[in-house]
């Protein structure tokens, strides 16, 4: 193990931070959030030009050969700036699922245009009854003469509103909850029978519920071995949880230091708020939570190197519980210590609370991961 960033990784961090500081201040983010798509296509092109969209993907699919840590560096910086672009959903969650399911040769056709910023992917996997269970797929894929017919309902598909290509999980055999029998299908989001209902989450990100009604796809749209996609979905979920953990960490860290600065400037009773020991101790507790979250993120990286998928899953669940609890504590107190200004929508600190609340609910909530950890 080596917990120090390499020179190359420091450069990545600095370059993402520079972009966020120059192009992603809170006022510009507010404008983006209120725009029709809820994010900027121009920013997305910039991400492609700077190589961030392929940073953790192998060269065989047109990526730059980095790993999970490089991706996390980007996400941590994005967390600090509350970036709205669908990086987590497309570059991490969907791309890792495609790669793990299909292998580099088949994945190249989907990932190359994604890395170039020409195509945006979303993984349409989540269903109403899943509540975090990766194997919960009710959507069906029935063989036809020249391919499959898909039927089912996907909910709260991250990045699902703006994606042009959907990676859909559907069952060719077995019952919901069984690991065997799940396949992934790549299809054009504009396919006949696909209807999307877009809405936003409290943090401003755009998602969609996606109904699939007699959607006809060709046999070549199936990615990888038939019915064997669970492992890929499991892997992609772990990668997404790590990326989300890094993003959460970035958000918590910025919220904490912003609050520290506020306490040093805000005066009440003739003194600045930082002189009150009760508030100092609260901030000390916030720092403890922040540091434990960073440790837990590293624990997640370590777990991901394990051969046993149960150990990987357990490590990711531990991280998810940590960001659920610590994220709520740190950003909730950041709002509290700001007082009135903290609960206004026009000030940034409350938006960290919204993002961390959302993070706590995505990919299975804290209770789900607590129970999963206990059972593994």
């Amino acid at each position: 193990m080596n917990f120090q960033l390499s020179d190359e990784q420091l450069m990545i961090r600095d370059s993402v931070r520079r972009f966020c500081e120059s192009d992603y201040d809170f006022e510009r983010r507010r404008v983006l959030q209120a725009s029709a798509e809820g994010f900027s296509r121009a920013h997305w092109r910039t991400f492609a030009e700077l190589g961030w969209l392929g940073i953790a993907l192998p060269e065989a699919v047109g990526g730059f050969g980095g790993g999970v840590v490089d991706e996390a560096i980007v996400m941590e910086e994005f967390g600090r700036a509350l970036v709205l672009e669908p990086y987590l959903s497309c570059v991490v969650y969907a791309a890792q699922a495609v790669l793990a399911a299909a292998g580099a040769d088949r994945a190249r056709g989907l990932l190359e245009p994604m890395i170039a910023g020409e195509s945006v992917l979303a993984l349409a996997h989540n269903e109403k009854a899943a509540c975090g269970r990766v194997a919960w797929v009710e959507t069906t894929a029935i063989p036809t003469a020249d391919g499959f017919e898909l039927n089912g309902d996907k909910i709260q598909v991250l990045g699902g509103a703006g994606a042009d290509t959907l990676i859909v999980s559907a069952r060719i055999a077995g019952a919901a909850g069984e690991r065997a029998g799940i396949s992934l299908f790549a299809l054009d989001a504009a396919c006949a029978g696909v209807s999307r209902r877009a809405y936003r989450l409290i943090d401003g990100s755009r998602v969609a519920d996606i109904a699939l009604r007699a959607v006809r796809v060709g046999a070549d749209s199936q990615l990888g071995a038939p019915g064997a996609a669970f492992a890929a979905l499991d892997f992609a979920t772990n990668r997404a949880l790590l990326a989300l953990g890094a993003e959460a960490l970035g958000g918590m860290e910025r919220a904490l230091w912003m609050t520290r600065d506020y306490l040093k400037t805000r005066k009440q009773y003739g003194v600045s708020l930082n002189t009150f020991q009760a508030l100092q101790h609260r901030m000390a507790d916030m720092l403890v939570e922040l540091e434990l979250t960073r440790s837990m993120l590293y624990q997640g990286f370590a777990a991901l190197t394990q051969a046993d998928p149960e150990q990987r899953r357990k490590g990711a669940s531990a991280l998810k519980v940590q960001i659920g609890r610590s994220g709520h504590f740190v950003t909730g107190n950041a709002v509290q210590l700001h007082g009135g200004i903290g609960v206004t929508d026009e000030y940034i600190v409350g938006h960290f609370f919204k993002r961390l609340t959302t993070a706590g609910l995505l990919f299975g909530n804290t209770d789900f991961h607590l129970q999963q950890f206990a059972e593994l």
């Binding site: 909910i155 709260q156 936003r200 009440q268 709520h328 007082g339 009135g340 026009e346 409350g350 995505l362």
Partner: protein, 400 residues
């Protein structure tokens, strides 16, 4: 001491329940149930219905329109109102300025304003906080300078709830800068329709509009609008905030929120079974119910004890703090109960019309739950932040 319930109180509860059932308009209850910020027309209609029955201000002295009910009956009344999803009527008027007026106001002020409050002819807002005066309220700088039979008022008020539709503001203003801060403050009634008043909306985390900032620019206020004596405003404000703290335990409200939470959790499924049957979730609901019971009996203690009882202050001090925390925790668990749809933003179906195309497809009972969760972050900040409440306990009760 005895704990036998009085059968007459139960008869009273039934009477109240029947009245509300017969008279609370369904559309008003529907909107209040969703939990978005109430609009003035609904509050006007409901206040007048209550006023016709003589129940708009049960806690006021009977000579000013109160009912003479015991504290316990007032509590029962509130419970029934919340259980039926009646909107909370003008708190600034009924709970805050009303008692100040009948306690410290002169006969003209009482005769003019109290009936107009009871009939919802006037809506009020509170002009206390300022940009530099939050927890440290005595630092307020809004200035009122005497000029013949008027005060000339200039200043800037913040976090003014319902300021956008209020007719009147009761404000703390500085009338003397030569004395210590608390002694230079007066309590003034300001007409919000004055052209020197401008109101800017402040959207809160729920993206809703209930608070504002109010700019007061060369507003001439008749000296007749001074409440009590000049320079005594701080004492009136402390009296008023004391009332606010008892009220803000919000037990009837939290009870209703908890009932809604259990309703949601019995309809939401986890692993094919009602969420309420999940042992982990069930235990969290139970903990909230237990904490609410402790708070409820704290409220009952406060309501039962005479005002000069030495046991009153310690128990009263926990109400605001614990009540605010409990409201937050119930709203947090309610969001959790919604599953994935707990993260969705739900525009007010009768407001936010421009966002109609982005209405999420969550269950109908989700609407309002998420916005309440976001707005409730303010409960531990307004009316004296919880940190200030702890300071009060440490200083006034523990003598530290």
């Amino acid at each position: 001491m005895h704990f036998e319930p009085d059968p007459a109180d139960e008869i009273f509860r039934q009477e109240v329940r029947q009245f509300i059932r017969a008279h609370l308009p369904q559309d008003i209850a529907r909107r209040a149930r969703r939990g978005y910020h109430p609009e003035r027309p609904d509050l006007e209609r409901w206040t007048r219905i209550l006023n016709q029955r003589g129940w708009a201000a049960p806690h006021w002295p009977t000579e000013y329109g109160g009912t003479g009910w015991s504290p316990l009956r007032r509590h029962i009344f509130q419970e029934e109102l919340r259980a039926a999803h009646a909107p909370v009527i003008g708190q600034a008027a009924f709970e805050l300025v009303g008692p100040v007026l009948y306690t410290f106001g002169n006969e003209q002020q009482k005769a003019l304003y109290l009936p107009r409050i009871l009939n919802a002819d006037d809506f009020w807002c509170q002009g206390f906080s300022e940009p530099g005066a939050g927890s440290d309220l005595a630092a307020l700088r809004t200035r009122a300078v005497r000029d013949g039979d008027h005060y000339l008022v200039n200043g800037h008020k913040l976090w003014t709830s319902e300021g956008h539709y209020a007719d009147m503001m009761f404000a703390l203003v500085r009338t003397n800068t030569e004395v210590k801060p608390q002694a230079g403050i007066s309590f003034l009634l300001i007409d919000m329709r004055d052209p020197g008043i401008s109101v800017r909306p402040i959207l809160t985390l729920d993206e809703g509009h209930s608070v504002n900032e109010v700019f007061i620019d060369n507003v001439r206020v008749p000296v007749a609008n001074l409440v009590g004596e000049e320079g005594k405003g701080w004492g009136y404000a402390k009296f008023l905030l004391g009332n606010e703290r008892t009220m803000s335990a919000e037990v009837p409200h939290t009870k209703q929120d908890l009932a809604l939470l259990k309703n949601i959790a019995s309809r939401e499924l986890r692993n094919g079974r009602p969420l309420l049957e999940d042992s982990l979730f069930r235990a969290k609901v139970a903990q909230l119910e237990i904490d609410l019971l402790a708070l409820e009996f704290s409220v009952l203690r406060v309501l039962n004890l005479p005002e000069n009882d030495p046991g009153l202050l310690p128990v009263a001090s926990v109400l605001k703090m614990r009540g605010a925390e409990l409201r937050q925790r119930v709203s947090e668990l309610s969001v959790e109960a919604l599953g994935d749809y707990g993260a969705a933003f739900y525009p007010d179906p009768e407001g936010h019309a421009q966002l109609a195309e982005l209405v999420p497809p969550g269950p109908d009972y989700a609407s309002g739950v998420v916005s309440k969760f976001l707005f409730r972050r303010a409960t531990t900040i307004y009316g004296g932040a919880n940190e200030v409440q702890r300071n009060i306990i440490a200083k006034s009760i523990l003598g530290l």
